[in-house]
Structures are given as C-alpha cells and as structure tokens.
C-alpha cells in the first residue's frame, strides 16, 4: 500500500506533463507570443523550485561541488529551455499526444545512443538485442505517427 502510493506519485509526475504543455500552449495562443510564453513558463518553473530549495526541507546541498562540476553540466538549462520552446510549438501545431509520443521516441533513441557510448559521464550500457529491438520499434512508431 505504501509502495503503491509512490507509484501513484510517479504516474502523477507524468500526468502533469501534458497539462504543462496544454497550459503553455494556451498561454502562447492567448498572448499571440510563443517566445513570451516560454519566458513566463521557465520563470514560474524556476521560482517554484528555488522556493522549495530555500525551504530547506529537501536535504542539504554540497555547494562546494558547484566549482568542481564540469562546465558542460550547467548546459542542462540551455537544452531544457530550448526544449520548452520546441515542445510548446509542437503541441500547438499537432496536439499534446503526438508531441509527447514523438518526443518520448526520440528521447529514448538518443538515450540508447548516449548509454551505448557512455557519453556525458553516464555509465556505459551497450546495445543488447532487447535495446536494439526497442530502437527499431521506436523508429517504426515515429514513422506511423508522422505518416
């Protein structure tokens, strides 16, 4: 029962994503400005996380590690911000389900590659036959969604 509640939490974590795209897309449509919708969305998102961090309820932070972390580990915000703009654009044009379907497929395909070569400091996970089969299914899925 205890574990089940955490599983529900995990599912809810996913459920919030299409809601996010719907709201960001609505903001872009209502204001007629996709770029400003991206600015507002990233600002609100950052504010919530910084507030939670400052509440101090989520454990301690090893701040000295900031200087030791490689420069590229700070690029998450750049790719994350670009992701928000692209996904909002896609959701307005094609709806959230197609956007999420294609997004998950390329996300999985690229993580298969990153894992296979152990890029970006991640642990290496070579392509097994299961992973190769999954990759093929993902490519077929993208073709089906776009054709």
């Amino acid at each position: 029962m205890w574990r089940l509640s955490f599983l529900v939490m995990a599912i809810l974590s996913g459920v919030l994503l299409p809601i996010r795209y719907q709201l960001d897309g609505k903001l872009a449509q209502a204001t007629g400005s996709l770029p400003m919708a991206g600015v507002v969305s990233t600002f609100v998102g950052a504010t919530v996380l910084v507030a939670l961090l400052l509440s101090g309820r989520f454990g301690s932070v090893y701040w000295a590690g900031l200087r030791l972390s490689p420069w590229w580990s700070y690029l998450g915000g750049v790719s994350g911000g670009s992701y928000v703009l692209l996904v909002t654009y896609a959701a307005i044009q094609a709806g959230t389900t197609l956007t999420i379907g294609i997004g998950i497929a390329t996300q999985m395909l690229s993580s298969l590659l990153v894992d296979h070569f152990g890029w970006l400091g991640l642990e290496r996970r070579p392509l097994s036959w299961q992973r190769l089969l999954a990759g093929i299914l993902l490519v077929v899925a993208v073709v089906l969604l776009l054709s």
Binding site: M9, A10, I11, L12, S13, G14, V15, L16, R20, Q22, D24, K26, L27, A30, T31, S33, P35, M36, S41, F43, V44, G45, A46, L49, L52, V61, Y62, L66, L68, S69, P70, W72, Y74, G77, S79, G80, V84, L86, I92, Q93, A94, G95, L98, T99, G101, I102, G103, A105, T106, Q107, M108, L112, G121, L122, R125, Q130, R131, A134, A141, S147
Partner: protein, 171 residues
C-alpha cells in the same frame, strides 16, 4: 500529411533529444552537488535566463499581451516543477525502472484521454488506428528498455565522491 505536422514532429523530435541531454547534464550536476532538487533549481534558473536573453536578443520581449491570458495559463511552469518534485520523491521508493515506465504511461495515457474527450484548447491531434498503434509500440519499447535497467541502482543512491568529481570530464 500537412506540412505543419512535419514541422511539429521535427520540433517534438528535437525536443526529445534535448530532454535526454538536459537529463544527462542535470544528473552530472546532481552528482557534483549531491542534491537533485538543487541541480533542478539551478537548471531551471539557467533555462529562464537563457530563454529570456534569447527572446530579448530576438526582439520579441513584450509583456503587454500577457494580460490577455487567463490566470491559470501561467501555471505551466509550476506543473513542470511539481512533476520534477513528485518524481524525486518517488524515485528512492520505487526505483528508476518503475519511475520511467510510470511517467511515460502517465503522460501518454492522460494526454490521449484529454484529447479524445476534447478537453483541450489546442489543436487536437488526429489520432486514428495508425497513431494508436504507434503509441502502443512506444510503450512496448519503453518497457523493453527500462526492464533492462533493473540491474543498476537508481541515480539518487549514488552521488559521486567529490574527489572523483573531475574524473569523467571530457576534454
């Protein structure tokens, strides 16, 4: 099919790749500062600074039309943050494998539900048998990939010792 769908597909596809990169970069930052929440907060703040300067340089910065949007449309970013928090809370209890599968099922399932019920203010993707088959294949692929991760412990359980912080840094 329409040109818009291809453009949207390209945007969503590149978005998915950028998500993988963001996840990998954030995991690295998380290992350095031993806090997934702080890593996400830093990453989201950089997102805002990046998008803000991009939009400013692009000459698109204009807060006037924001008054035309309903208040709830401003909550998109908060949904993203709550999603991160929920997954961080669930991760140590159910593991990365179940978490990954649950998130994919949650987002695809719920999105399909609200679009089929026309509970959306955006264009509703035309979802025929072909598209549903495609989504089904994605779910099978995700389960195949995630079930292989079983052997390794979740990311949160393995913060890197600080002395090794630079070992894996590419030149």
């Amino acid at each position: 099919m329409h040109l818009e769908i291809w453009q949207a597909g390209l945007a969503a596809g590149v978005g998915g790749v950028l998500f993988t990169l963001a996840f990998a970069f954030n995991s690295r930052l998380h290992r350095s500062i031993h806090s997934p929440l702080a890593a996400s907060a830093i990453s989201f703040t950089i997102s805002f600074l990046f998008v803000g300067s991009l939009v400013g340089l692009w000459g698109q910065w204009n807060i006037t039309p924001l008054g035309q949007a309903p208040w709830w449309a401003f909550l998109g970013g908060a949904m993203g943050s709550c999603s991160i928090i929920l997954s961080l809370l669930a991760l140590p209890r159910i593991g990365l494998v179940a978490l990954g599968i649950a998130i994919v099922f949650g987002q695809l399932g719920f999105s399909l539900l609200i679009e089929q019920l026309s509970f959306t203010t955006l264009v509703s993707g035309v979802l025929g048998a072909k598209e549903v088959l495609g989504l089904g294949l994605i779910l099978v692929a995700v389960v195949l990939i995630q079930s292989q991760r079983e052997a390794s412990p979740p990311l949160a359980a393995q913060p890197e010792p600080t002395s090794e912080a630079r070992v894996k840094e590419p030149h």
